[in-house]
């Protein structure tokens, strides 16, 4: 007698445990999984499913997309937006604008409880706001660009090149190194020359000697300006031309004669956007790849002179190299956190291809030792896209961004720094793509990369945990450009919450706050779309330009920001909140795995589907969903209020594959949401029918 799939009677395919969560596969998963869910709680008690609280919009007065948040000692919360808006969220969750940065925000905000100040990195400066909890003396003050451009005090710019030992340890050109504070444009004139000689400006650049150029080895970048101590202004317009070692012109800056002032520093400010990027720490001698500048006058035989140490030797000119506080990054971010591995409380700021550190040594005007722009140097082209701590390490995620959105890099790196070395302790390459949303939870550092969730917890490898979304544009005909902001991951009630994605060109990605974790050790970690945002949009389109800015949880309150363009073409910004005053989500749904009985080839028959639930609250709807052979879901009528079950007759639906589920709604203000306890499908295996025949 031939063997084959045989059953003697109808049977029920039942699911009334749900600890498996959302599956990657439509059919294969750990036990008690389902394919999708929206706004459902399947963890609190995995033997049932209820509806999670809704994200509700709490602010309509935002003018940009909040990308970072923090809280002061009194519980007041703050947010900074992508366009530089600064917001205060009081303890009643009223949102007010408290200022505007001079540049876009950089997804960074840190509150120091001791100084009672917010430290707010912009694009190339860092502003402060505080004292946050002080109510007297006019209240907190916004100090815009408190940490801005300042001058190098390094040997490579201050000391003359010493031909004897090949180092920049010759005579100092000024007393900049005696300053215990930073040298800024405000105090630059206090820097005094050490030389008494002069150099007369020629009218043309002279390269073939060493006395008509001033070479230096920068220790900070990007260059903001070069300030020259002018002795005599002469009659011509002055031009400073900055060259690299190959004499490529990096920029030439001209100041008209009328705007020059004798016997003081005059600033030649570079116009290049973001400043002149340069190699630091690489230029060791005057003959190695270094930088130099020339000074020329527009007037022949001009009397224009600068202060020098050696007569007619521009290389000994009294100058100061100014650099921006922060590198202007392509990704627009300066992720920021606190780290104490250095032995002191240290503000760590992702500074493009560097890690910048500040020991809070002088909020008024820190020296370059107190505020180090380039404490760590990463690979050229890398930019910090996330920062976190794990054990004794500061974990720094770097990505590479091209200037072409359609031709981005596929590269990333995780750097680990103990704070006790002058280079990262070790690194892990992430060639899969940019490691976004870096966040440490349970001492496991998670990040999103190329549509998947990865984790690292001390080993040599990063572990791919699971797919987050179908970040794969095969057959879509569009270039994927999916970005996740630095502050999109957070933890809420011991679960990892992931705002995903921030922005994308992929219309297949589902937007929302996704969760990962388990309610207890016995149950598996599971995944699901826990919170959709108040606008109700779930996918990007070229019309809506949907974005999530950040997702930050404070104990019982989880904030998530968003922006989109409405049907009228108006950009809307909002901040959602889930807290203990939230009511049930207005919509919810679940779809099961596809059932084929393990014999896809054989025809089966579905008789009826039963949903079991706790008495349905008044005002709620709950409908069954059925899909045959991967067709569109068909919904049945809703259960009435008070009912505890619902039968949906499938009308002898023959199938090879079948999928079921439910969808429902909750009325506003509901705090006792529906609770589903079981999904059961009655199936006839059709044992007497021919097993193999055409699907049609």
């Amino acid at each position: 007698m031939p063997k084959g799939p045989r059953n003697s009677q109808k049977m029920s395919v039942n699911q009334n445990y749900f600890q498996g969560g959302n599956s990657v596969s439509r059919k294969l998963a750990v036990a008690n999984s389902f394919y999708t869910s929206t706004n459902l709680d399947f963890r609190t008690d995995p033997s049932q499913i209820s509806v999670l609280p809704a994200s509700r919009q709490m602010a309509t007065n935002l003018t940009d997309l909040i990308t970072a948040m923090d809280q002061d000692l009194n519980g007041v919360r703050y947010g900074v937006g992508n366009n530089g808006g600064l917001y205060r969220i009081n303890t009643s969750n009223a949102v007010s604008s408290i200022g505007q940065l001079t540049s876009n925000g950089s997804a960074a905000l840190y509150y120091n409880q001791t100084t009672d100040q917010l430290y707010i990195p912009g694009q190339q400066t860092v502003s402060m706001y505080g004292q946050c909890t002080m109510t007297n003396s006019g209240g907190p003050r916004l100090r815009l660009d408190q940490f801005a451009q300042s001058a190098s005090q390094g040997a490579g710019t201050i000391f003359l090149f010493n031909n004897t030992d090949g180092l920049f340890d010759g005579f100092p050109r000024n007393n900049a190194q005696s300053f215990i504070t930073g040298i800024t444009e405000a105090n630059v004139q206090q820097v005094t020359s050490t030389g008494t000689s002069t150099y007369i400006l020629p009218t043309t650049i002279i390269e073939n000697d060493l006395v008509n150029k001033c070479y230096f080895a920068p220790d900070i970048e990007p260059f903001y300006s070069i300030q020259i101590f002018i002795k005599t202004i002469g009659t011509g317009n002055w031009t400073l031309t900055l060259h690299d070692s190959l004499n490529n012109v990096l920029e030439a800056v001209t100041i008209t004669n009328a705007n020059l002032i004798a016997n003081q520093f005059n600033e030649f400010k570079f116009a290049t956007s973001g400043g002149i990027t340069a190699l630091v720490n690489a230029s060791q001698t005057g003959n190695s790849p270094t930088y130099h500048f020339h000074l020329t006058s527009s007037v022949t035989n001009d009397t224009a002179t600068v202060q020098t140490i050696n007569t007619n030797d521009l290389s000994s000119v009294n100058f100061l190299l100014f650099a921006y506080r922060l590198v202007k990054t392509r990704n627009g971010w300066h992720p920021t956190t606190m780290f104490t591995g250095t032995g002191t409380q240290t503000l760590c700021i992702g500074n493009g291809p560097y890690l910048s550190t500040y020991n809070f040594g002088n909020d008024a005007n820190p020296s370059n030792g107190q505020w180090s722009r380039h404490t760590l140097t990463f690979k050229v082209g890398e930019e910090v896209c996330g920062i976190s701590t794990n054990n004794q390490y500061l974990v720094i995620a770097c990505e590479r961004r091209s200037s072409n959105a359609n031709r981005n890099y596929q590269a990333g790196t995780l750097y680990f720094w103990s704070g006790t070395t002058n280079q990262p302790d070790f690194r892990i390459d992430v060639p899969m793509g940019a490691p976004y949303g870096l966040y440490t939870f349970n001492n496991v550092t998670y990040f999103a990369c190329a549509g998947s969730l990865f984790a690292w917890s001390g080993g040599q490898t990063v572990i791919k945990v699971r797919k987050l979304a179908y970040q794969n544009t095969d057959y879509l005909g569009v270039v994927d450009s999916t970005i996740v902001n630095p502050n999109m991951f957070t933890s809420r009630y011991n679960l990892l919450m992931m705002g995903y994605p921030t922005s994308t060109t992929n219309t297949s990605l589902g937007y929302g706050i996704w969760s990962w974790g388990t309610v207890e050790l016995t149950f598996p970690d599971s995944y699901g779309l826990s919170y959709t945002q108040s606008h109700g949009l779930l996918n990007y389109s070229s019309a809506n330009q949907l974005q999530i800015g950040c997702c930050v949880n404070f104990v019982d309150s989880m904030y998530s920001s968003w922006s989109y363009i409405d049907s009228g073409g108006i950009t809307r910004y909002g901040l959602d909140l889930v807290d203990n005053s939230s009511t049930a989500a207005s919509i919810f749904n679940l779809t099961s795995l596809i059932y084929d009985g393990g014999v896809r080839y054989k025809t089966k028959n579905a008789y009826r589907f039963k949903l079991s639930f706790v008495a349905l609250p008044t005002g709620c709807t709950l409908q069954p969903l059925i899909s045959l052979d991967r067709g569109a879901f068909v919904s049945g009528p809703t259960a009435p209020a008070g009912a505890t079950s619902l039968i949906y007759e499938t009308n002898n639906s023959r199938f090879h594959e079948i999928q079921w589920g439910f969808q429902g709604t909750c009325p506003p203000g509901l705090t006792t949401p529906p609770t589903i306890t079981g999904l059961t499908m009655e199936v006839d295996p059709l044992t007497e029918e021919v097993e193999l025949r055409d699907d049609g």
């Binding site: 699911q15 070790f426 490898t461 393990g598």
Partner: protein, 127 residues
């Protein structure tokens, strides 16, 4: 190990799939070669199954334990030395002498000296 789907008491609500994790934790999984114990249950139904097929659950935490045991991360080099931009200055400060007062070890930049073991190009004075 796995109940047969011929058992009328079996359906997809069973949680036995957690069990294989015990063995995989120690032997069957690594991040290079993946899950060596991967299996789909029921493996050979021989009938129309009454539930969904399942795969063994692999705990991330268990994997971390295994990974940390077999591939511990490197301990940091707990030394901060050498050229360190804008932060550290070593200038003739370290001299060890023996009991007779004779210098035995001398390191660091020597002011006025013709050479130095340090590259001082990017060092600066104490701030």
């Amino acid at each position: 190990m796995y109940p047969s789907t011929e058992d009328p008491n079996t359906d997809s609500a069973e949680t036995y799939q957690n069990m294989p994790n015990m063995s995989m934790m120690f032997t069957m999984y690594n991040t290079t070669f993946g899950n060596g114990a991967f299996a789909i249950q029921p493996p050979s139904p021989g009938e129309v199954g009454r539930g969904f097929p399942t795969v063994p659950y692999l705990s991330l935490a268990a994997l971390f334990y295994q990974q940390q045991a077999s591939n511990p991360s490197l301990a940091p080099v707990n030394i901060k030395s050498g050229n360190n931009v804008g932060e550290q200055v070593v200038q003739g400060a370290y001299t060890n002498t023996d009991a007779a007062g004779t210098s035995r070890v001398l390191s660091g930049f020597q002011p006025g000296g013709a050479s130095s073991i340090l590259n001082t190009a990017n060092t600066q004075a104490a701030l």
